[in-house]
């Protein structure tokens, strides 16, 4: 590689008010390679990307693309220079066909005043073959496609417009493992055709698997570059966090005695069947499984949202009905949902109302809303869980993702349930907050809270659980006790 690198970023800085988002960052990306970018939320990854694609302009420093200075004034200019970005949310027109989504824009082939569907469909099939090596039905509507297929359509779309540098920003969050493998194979194929990639992911295994070089950002600085061969998960996570994620959290012995919760033969057609388990007080039950294994539907059924069709749940010796969230709450069950934004947070409300929303009727005094009571509970939770915020009267939107997640957990603690069901408790929070939430769950279990935790992060499950159930195609395929659960065993039980 004698020629100069394809993309050179030199001493780029960017500040937003008092916050230094980027502090003299330099990096170089070789043509036809995959450049991994790692770092916590707020480490500066997004700012760097936004500078490359013309959303922000740097305060200082230079960027060169293919030997020429690159200073796009807007996203359109960056696109013309050959830079394309994939965001977490994929913008597509769901009611149009794949071919229409690929060609949508001023350059859409026309015949007379209408679009030339025949040519578009033909070219779409050709592009899929030559670029991805895949077959496609170009007339299929995008809304009938899976998340992975939508992504591929977008990839073809940008490549048909001669993108030379494709930025993949967390492309795998919505994908199942086989889909991830397929995407990676396609990226490697495109790499050989001379396309350069910048790959951002929270999943270190994925970064290691796909990247030729990995650069780690922390607090706006480039803290190090690793080349293929030097990759090591432990070292990477240390570089990202600036500290080690403890692997040996103290686990409290169970008290024994009568089971706290008993689930017998729970089933929901099309989702899961014949799930049974017993939980002791203070026990943490982990539930592992791929997307579509029935893992998520199972934990939702424990909160009646929606309920299971068959089976029985017994709490503290009494059979309980779990047809609605209200009934589940009456049985002492709380639920932290998998999607914080869509299912958890009330975006236009303040912190204290968000904390106290479950069982809000308890905050009534002489018929009126007991605002001091709300504030008291919220302060208690803020101090107890050390949630970072300006004040409990601040809007919930002003909190970081990790703090919002803690607010959702505290919503149930305020109600003093005895069983907490959690679905993806650390999704979308950074490494530091992840550790705090894990410690919080461990601490609460020591206080006597019983947990059912469903997660796609195996490390987290191994760290937390007294026992792990592995779901596979709607059934429990294996049950592993704390000491014997390893990642290999979990993956094996979930995928075979």
């Amino acid at each position: 590689m004698g020629e100069p690198p394809f993309l050179v970023v030199q001493n780029v800085s960017k500040a937003f008010g008092p916050t230094r988002a980027l502090d003299s960052v330099s990096l170089a990306v070789e043509k036809g390679t995959v450049f991994g970018l790692a770092g916590e939320n707020g480490a500066g990854k997004s700012t760097l990307i936004k500078i490359l694609c013309g959303v922000h302009s740097p305060d200082a420093g230079n960027v060169a693309l293919d030997g020429r200075p690159h200073r796009p004034r807007d996203t359109e200019e960056a696109e013309k220079a050959g830079i394309a970005v994939f965001h977490q949310e994929i913008p597509v027109c769901p009611n149009l066909s794949v071919a229409a989504n690929v060609f949508l824009g001023p350059a859409m082939p026309r015949r007379g005043i209408g679009p030339d569907w025949k040519r578009m469909n033909g070219r779409c099939v050709e592009l899929y073959r030559s670029l991805l090596g895949e077959e496609i039905d170009p007339e299929r509507l995008v809304k009938d496609c899976t998340a992975a297929e939508k992504q591929l359509a977008l990839l073809v779309r940008v490549l048909s417009r001669e993108a030379r540098l494709v930025i993949l920003d967390e492309p795998t969050t919505a994908l199942t493992p086989p889909e991830v493998a397929r995407l990676f194979a396609i990226v490697q194929r495109l790499q050989k055709q001379g396309i350069t990639f910048i790959f951002i992911s929270h999943m270190l295994e994925e970064l290691v698997q796909l990247s030729d070089t990995i650069s780690v950002l922390r607090d706006g600085r480039n803290v190090g570059v690793l080349r293929r061969g030097e990759f090591e998960l432990q070292r990477l996570s240390e570089m990202i966090a600036g500290r080690t994620l403890s692997r040996t959290a103290p686990r409290n012995p169970l008290r024994g005695g009568a089971p706290h919760m008993e689930v017998k033969g729970l089933g929901l057609p099309g989702e899961f069947q014949d799930v049974s388990f017993r939980l002791q007080r203070g026990e943490i039950l982990g539930i592992a499984g791929l997307q579509g294994s029935g893992r998520s539907a199972l934990v939702r059924a424990l909160f009646g949202a929606p309920p299971a069709a068959t089976g029985e749940v017994v709490v503290e010796g009494r059979p309980v009905a779990l047809a609605t969230p209200v009934q589940a709450m009456a049985a002492g069950i709380g639920y932290v949902p998998e999607d914080r934004k869509a299912l958890g947070v009330f975006h236009d409300m303040d912190v204290k109302t968000n904390v106290c929303m479950a069982g809000i009727d308890r905050y009534t005094r002489r018929g009126f809303l007991d605002t001091p009571g709300l504030r008291r509970t919220a302060c208690q939770m803020r101090d107890g869980l050390s949630i970072k915020m300006q004040s409990v009267d601040a809007p919930i939107r002003s909190l970081s993702g990790g703090s919002q997640q803690k607010v959702l957990i505290s919503r149930w603690l305020a109600l003093k349930p005895s069983i907490l069901v959690m679905n993806e408790p650390t999704r979308g929070v950074d490494v530091g907050a992840k550790k705090e939430i894990i410690d919080l769950i461990l601490g609460l279990s020591a206080e006597g809270y019983t947990f059912v935790v469903s997660s796609s992060e195996l490390d987290e499950l191994i760290l937390l659980s007294n026992r792990i159930l592995v779901m596979n195609r709607g059934r429990v395929s294996q049950e592993l006790v704390a000491g014997e659960a390893t990642k290999d065993k979990l993956v094996l039980a979930a995928t075979t």
């Binding site: 909160f303 949202a305 969230p325 209200v326 709450m329 639920y335 949902p337 869509a342 299912l343 958890g344 947070v345 009330f346 975006h347 236009d348 409300m349 109302t353 929303m357 479950a358 069982g359 809000i360 009727d361 905050y363 009534t364 018929g367 009126f368 809303l369 504030r375 302060c379 300006q390 004040s391 409990v392 009267d393 939107r397 919503r411």
Partner: protein
Amino acid sequence: MESTARARLTAIQRILRQRDFGVLVAAVLIAAFFSVITPVFLTPYNIFNILRQTAELGIIAMAMTILIVAGEFDLSVGAIYAVTGVVTGFLATRLGLDIWLAATAGMAAGLLLGFLNGLLIATTRINSFIATLSTMMVFRGIAMVLSQGQPISFKLDFFMDLFGRAEIGGMLPVPVLWFAAWGAFAYVLLHRTTFGVKVFATGDNREAADLAGIQTMRVKRVAFLLTSLASGLAALISLSFLKTVTPTQGTGLELEAIAAAVIGGTAMSGGVGSIIGTFLGTFIMAEVRTGLVLLGTDAYVQEAFVGLVIALAVIVNVRLSARRR
């Protein structure tokens, strides 16, 4: 620590951060504008007159605000307003029932229609625009059939004084008192009770509210009952003041009520809104109408102006709330 953080804001900053501040400024500016041009504008008589004229709309708009905050809206309020009036008139004049009994039956009929709206939306989960568009036409039809398309006139009664005609101290028209009482009720309900919190939660994030154990369908059904109750009350005020009801009364009232709420800063997407804002929104619409009349403006131009005010208010509000974020 909590109190120090709050004390750090000066009183002025706290007022500026209030959602309703922008609407209040607009209401004051419009009042100032008209009182400079026409000296009669800023007299107690005129202000009370504005409030009396707008009391019916305001009462409905405040209930509509609660419904919009909960994430739905009701296009049938104008028709319910007509049905309540016509049922009352039909029973009182054609069947010779006592006016109090007739009015109670009229209110009950209105509440029944509100209940049906809620039921329709809860069971079929149709979008409330479509659902109440259809019930609006059905309810209007009921009013037409009952009255055979004819206006119904009443004999004067103490009832009329109580709801529409009396002027306390020769000055304060009684509809203004009803407006104030209903406003206080709606304010407390939306901003000072747990029901109000549930209304905001339902409109803010319906699924999250369900998962927090809030019965969002019940919240919405209660809100539909409230808009029908408000329509009924407004209908009684109208028939008392005019001593007559017509089956076509209240046509377009639903859109004016929504407009007043929107001028007051209520978000059509739900989860954001305030009773004070809606009160000010109603007031602004009435101010503009009355001011233009006092200026001697052509009646046909007035509607166009009100339309401009709505657009302007929403643009300003979107800008302001974008800055707050």
